[in-house]
Structures are given as structure tokens and as C-alpha cells.
Amino acid sequence: MLIVALTFVFLLVIGMPVAFAIAISGATYFLQHPELPLTIPVQVTVSQTQNFALLAVPLFIIAGNFLNHSGITERLLTLASVLTGRLRGGLAQVSLTLSALMGGVSGSAIADAAMQSRMIGEAMVNRGMSRGFVAGVLSFGSILTPLIPPGIGMILYGTIGQVSIGRLFAAGIVPALLLWLALAVTVSLTARRRGYPAERDTRPTAREFTQALRGGIFALLFPVILLLGLRMGVFTPSEIGAFAVIYAIFVGIAIHRKLNRASFIEAVEGSLADVGAIMFLIALSAIFTYGIVLDRVPEVVSRWILSLTDNLHLVMVLVVLIVIAAGLLVDATVLIIMLTPIFLPLARQLGADPVHFGIVFIVAATIGNFTPPVGAAMYAVCSIIKVGVGSYSRESLPFILAVTLVALVLVFVPGVVLFLPEALFAR
């Protein structure tokens, strides 16, 4: 795996597109293992597209594109400016709110980040915020999505580790609110320092407010309908994606009368490039992951931890740091599948509550989606916002510090995580 990792870094440095760099470096593993058929890289890549859970990603990308062309976004922005116009960097705050709202609908940070980038990314840039900052907010803001139920990460962790998924769902809510607060403070500090202007300096009148509310009603109804659809058991998450597309088209044609033949084609074409860039990368990353699994890289790491310390809090802090470090190269889903069976027994052995440990672990793993050089949410956002990974990384530093800080608070104050599940589920 060392050769694979070095090849990968080298290819990135010489500026090769990440999708190809990940695939070509991953393929070198197979050259070192002549016993493996050379068709495996093709096979695992194709298999990624047959994963029903991953279908949610392109569907929410398409939904975002159609929402953009159906007049929903503009009306939502009007409302947002009325609501938060007096805050510095107001739209950035709105995007965080939206992530929390979307959290009740989508289980995937990647899908949420891609959709929001389509919906309000350009508008944020037009408000004078730097592209790197905008990408940072949209990317890191989506950390709220998998923590507010439902979340794919919690389902995976609960299933693999035999931990109550109901408790995990309940346990995610308070940490999500805490993360929201931390990110909102970070946004407002940066906005103040940079002098990002407020959009308006007068308090909105009642009339303005009701007008904006009426204009944005279909946008506001959107997450509510999706949430109800999911809660009432009408749709699974992938179907919710399909429903979102059809809702956006319906509103665009029948209600806002904004979607015509030309803008319809434009929405599809925009979706194609987004889906191509994002799904191609996700599909090819399976080649890279293959060697990591085969060489059991995670287990070696776990043995090494125990040789350092057996203090629970220190181990959890180490796990957070290791997961964030591993997350540089691997995305959350893969991290959770690979590391849960290694770290959870370790934590249990040292007396941790599996729900508490799980939430800390999932927060740390989700950060992997946002950090370079490999992070699906990061790529989705950066390619849509059209910003280089370099300036994204620089401007994301405050956000990664903020979420890491919250992860550490969660380690040392288990009550924040466990309060709600213990109130809701009697032992």
C-alpha cells in the first residue's frame, strides 16, 4: 500500500485529475499482486454504480439543478435576505440552516453539499464572499446532514457494531446543534474579520416579510414535504431524491412558470457534468480502497494505539485524530465500514458507551468527506463552485478546527451525546 500512497501523492502533485490519480495509483497495487486478476479494478468500479444507496447522490444533484431553474432558489434567497440580511455573511448562515433542515431528509453529507452548492453557491459568491470560503461553508456545513436522523453513517455503525440505531439517531441531534453553533460562530468571525457586508441595514417591514414568506412557500414546503414523505414511510432516501426532482420540475412548470424547454435542457446538461465528475470519482475510488482492505491497514493501526495508552479518553482522542487523518485519504462510509469493527471493541473493552463512542466516531469520520486530498463532498463542492482545492483548504482551516474542537468536547462531555437518547429510550 505504501507504493500506492506514494504514487497517488505524486500524481496529485503533477496535477492529474483526482479521479484518474486515485484509479492509476490504486491499480499499481494489482501490479504488485500478480495473483489477483487484472479485471478486478474494472469490476469494483462498475459495482459502485450498482449500489442503490449511492443512487441518492446523482438524484439530489439533479434535484439541485432543477430547483435552480424552477425559480425556487431565487425566492428562497429573497426570503433568506429578509431573515438574515442584517447578519454579516448572511447567506453563509442561511446555508448552515439549510443543511440542518436538509439533515432531516437526506442521510448523505455528499448529496447535501452538492445540492446546496448548486442552489446557493453562486449567490454566495455574488454577495462578495471568496470562493474558497463559500466552498468551505457549503462543504463543512453538510456535516449536520448525516447527524440529524436519518443518517447513513449511523445505520452502518449501528448494524456493524450492534448498537441501537434508534438511540444513535436520538444521540446525533444535540451534537448536530452544537456543530451548527460552532460553524455559525466561525462564519461570523470570518465575516467580521473580512468585512463581508451585511446585505441590508434596515429591519425588514412586516409586509416585506410576509411577501418573502409567500414567495418562498414552495421552497419552504420542499423540505417539509420531503421530511413528511420520509417520516410517514412513503419513500426511501433514494426515492426521496427522485421525488425532489419531480417536485422541482412540477413547481417550475406549473406554479412558478419559469421552467421552459431551454432551461429544462440547461438543467439536465448541468446535471450531467456534475454527475460525471462526482460519480466517476466515487466509482474509481473502489480501486484504491481494495488494497487498503486487503492489507488490513486499519488493524495495524489499532494494535499500535493500544501499545501507546489504555486510558479511555486518551484512546478516544487518538481515535478521533487517527480517523481524521485516515479521512484525508478515505471517505466516511468506507471509514465506518472498515474501522467500526476495530475501534468499537477497543472502546468497549476500555468501558466506553457504544452510542457515545459512535457519535464521536461518526463526526470524525464524516470530516473525511471534507478534507483534501480525497473527499467526495469537497470535490462535489469545489467542482460546482469552481474553486481550487488549494484555496478551499486554506479557507477551510477555521472550519476543521471548529468541528475538531466539537468532536473533542463530545469526547470529554458524554452527557451532551447521551442526554437525549437516555431521555427517550428508558433502559
Binding site: E35, S164, I165, I337
Partner: protein
């Protein structure tokens, strides 16, 4: 001497009894072969999708997979009969099955024509029952209920023969599917229920025992042929021993799992009309063109 490694993949989680069983198999093979043959066990489908692994074996890779008769039926259709409703009904049946000329001929065909070597099939996950939120006592009670099945026609045909509306879904989608009421129930073995925490979203178990799930340990035939004969023997013998022990332990533990589930609030439905389910199950074989294969194997087993 040359050393050999088998990378063995299965889709179940690390806490399922099967995983412990495979680890046992690996330990004993390593011990008896003085480390010349090593089995590396991968849980939760870490090496990939079941169908992908099977294709890798056919190309001679040193991988193995825990699979079922339905998937092997893609290559030798008749073998799928083992996955039909009310086919094998006890561990004794499974042992008898191994000695039937038909099963031996089908395994031969799998190896010769398709490159798939069945190491053993002494692994039984237990009886599949219906887990739902309404009591099921007869096939009519399943009418209109969306029951999750693995995505394969034989499962769908069997479940639909028993009266339900089969809904294909991946294993991992079941919990959210039930929670969001996208499906009304599942048909699984007892041990899957605590492992997947399904008691949180399901209230009733109806012990139909409609399928005794027999699993096959399959490796690449080319790789197997390349092993020295003593290692081949060790691999097969320890597969059988570990499989029989694991199966017996699972069937024994079912009563304990059941008691745990009742303690967690699940209701075991009384008075299931087994005769009606059996009769309904027979329709599946005809619909799948497996009627002759079924009669043939059952007569060889001395059951009919």
C-alpha cells in the same frame, strides 16, 4: 514448501455466529497445515459484492465466498432447488443431501464448466421465519404485505408462492426500510434479528420455517486444484467440522435468541398453519421449473 493464502469473504457482520465459525475454520486449517495454508476472513463484504467475488474465483483468484444455492443456480440452474421452500428441514437432511448423486453431479458441473469449487455446504444459518408487525398464521395473512427478499428471482418466487408481495432490497436497507414503512416485514433467521436490531422496528414473529438456509463455501477450482493434496483434504475436512459445529450451535442458540426477543417485547405468533404454508410453497418449484430437480433429489434422500 510453498505457502498458500485464501481470502475468504462473507456479507455478515463480525458479531454473527458465522464469522466466529469462519475464524475457527481458519485457525484449525493454519494449525493442521503448520501455517502452510492460511485463510484470511473478511466480514461485512469488505472484499466486495458476492457476485463479484464469484466471478473473481472463476478467473482463478485465491478468494473464497460464503454463498447460497440461489446464486450458484446462476451457473447450474438445478442446484437452486436447495434454496426452495421446505426443502432441507433438518441438519440430518443437509448431511444426506451431500451424499446424493444429483448434488455431486451438480458440484462436478460447477467445478468443470464454471471453475467454482464447493468446499463444503455444512453451514446452516437456521430456519427463516416471517418477522412482521401483524400476526401471520396462514398464507392469506401475507396477502399484500411487502416482505423484503434478497434480489434474486428464486427468493421472489418463493415468497410470492407463500402469499406475500416480495420486495427486493439490500440487507443494509432493511432497517431504514422498516422504520420508514417502505416494507411491512422481513423473512430472516432468528440470529439476524438481534444482530440487525430489527426488534426495534418489528413486533411479531411467525415461525413458518419456510426455508432452511444452507450456505455453500466456494473457492476457485483452479486455485483448489493447485493445492497439494494434503492441504486440499485439510481445507475440506475443517470446513465440514467448523460448519457442523457452527450450525448446531446456531440451532441451539435460537431458543435463547427467541427468549431474548420476547423479553424485548416481540410476540411469537401461536397456531401457524404449517400444512397450508407447505402446500403453498410447492407452487414455487413449478413456477421456477425446479419441480423435477426437487423430486429427484428428495427421492435420492429417501424423503419421497
Amino acid at each position: 514448501a510453498q505457502d498458500y493464502t485464501l481470502r475468504f469473504n462473507h456479507v455478515l457482520g463480525p458479531s454473527e455466529p458465522y464469522h466466529q465459525g469462519f475464524t475457527q475454520w481458519a485457525e484449525r486449517v493454519a494449525e493442521r497445515s503448520d501455517g502452510r495454508l492460511k485463510i484470511d476472513v473478511f466480514h461485512s463484504a469488505q472484499l466486495g459484492v458476492e457476485e463479484d467475488i464469484i466471478e473473481q474465483m472463476r478467473q482463478g483468484a485465491n478468494v473464497g465466498q460464503n454463498t447460497d444455492a440461489a446464486r450458484l443456480g446462476n451457473y447450474v440452474p438445478s442446484i437452486a432447488v436447495v434454496n426452495g421452500p421446505y426443502f432441507a428441514e433438518s441438519l440430518e437432511d443437509v448431511a444426506k443431501l451431500a451424499d446424493t448423486p444429483s448434488m455431486q453431479a451438480w458440484q462436478e458441473e460447477l467445478a468443470k464448466d464454471h471453475g467454482l469449487k464447493v468446499v463444503c455446504f455444512d453451514w446452516v444459518q437456521g430456519y427463516r421465519h416471517f418477522f412482521t408487525n401483524t400476526p401471520i398464521t396462514a398464507p392469506d395473512d401475507l396477502d399484500g404485505l411487502r416482505i423484503r427478499t434478497p434480489p434474486a428471482p428464486i427468493w421472489q418466487e418463493s415468497i410470492s408462492a407463500l402469499g406475500a408481495a416480495p420486495t427486493a432490497m439490500a440487507f443494509g436497507d432493511m432497517y431504514p426500510g422498516l422504520q420508514q414503512r417502505a416494507i411491512d416485514g422481513v423473512e430472516l433467521v432468528y440470529n439476524n434479528i438481534p444482530a440487525g436490531r430489527f426488534y426495534e422496528v418489528l413486533s411479531h414473529v411467525s415461525e413458518t420455517g419456510h426455508i432452511m438456509l444452507v450456505n455453500f463455501q466456494v473457492v476457485s477450482n483452479a486455485w483448489f486444484e493447485g493445492l497439494p493434496e494434503d492441504l486440499q483434504a485439510i481445507l475440506v475436512e475443517e470446513c465440514k467440522t467448523a460448519g457442523q459445529e457452527t450450525s448446531a450451535a446456531i440451532l441451539e442458540s435460537e431458543q435463547k435468541v427467541k427468549a431474548d426477543l420476547v423479553a424485548k417485547g416481540m410476540t411469537v405468533v401461536e397456531g401457524v398453519d404449517m400444512a397450508a404454508f407447505r402446500a403453498a410453497g410447492e407452487n414455487a418449484y413449478e413456477a421456477l421449473n425446479l419441480g423435477d430437480a426437487r423430486r429427484q433429489v428428495l427421492s435420492e434422500m429417501g424423503k419421497e
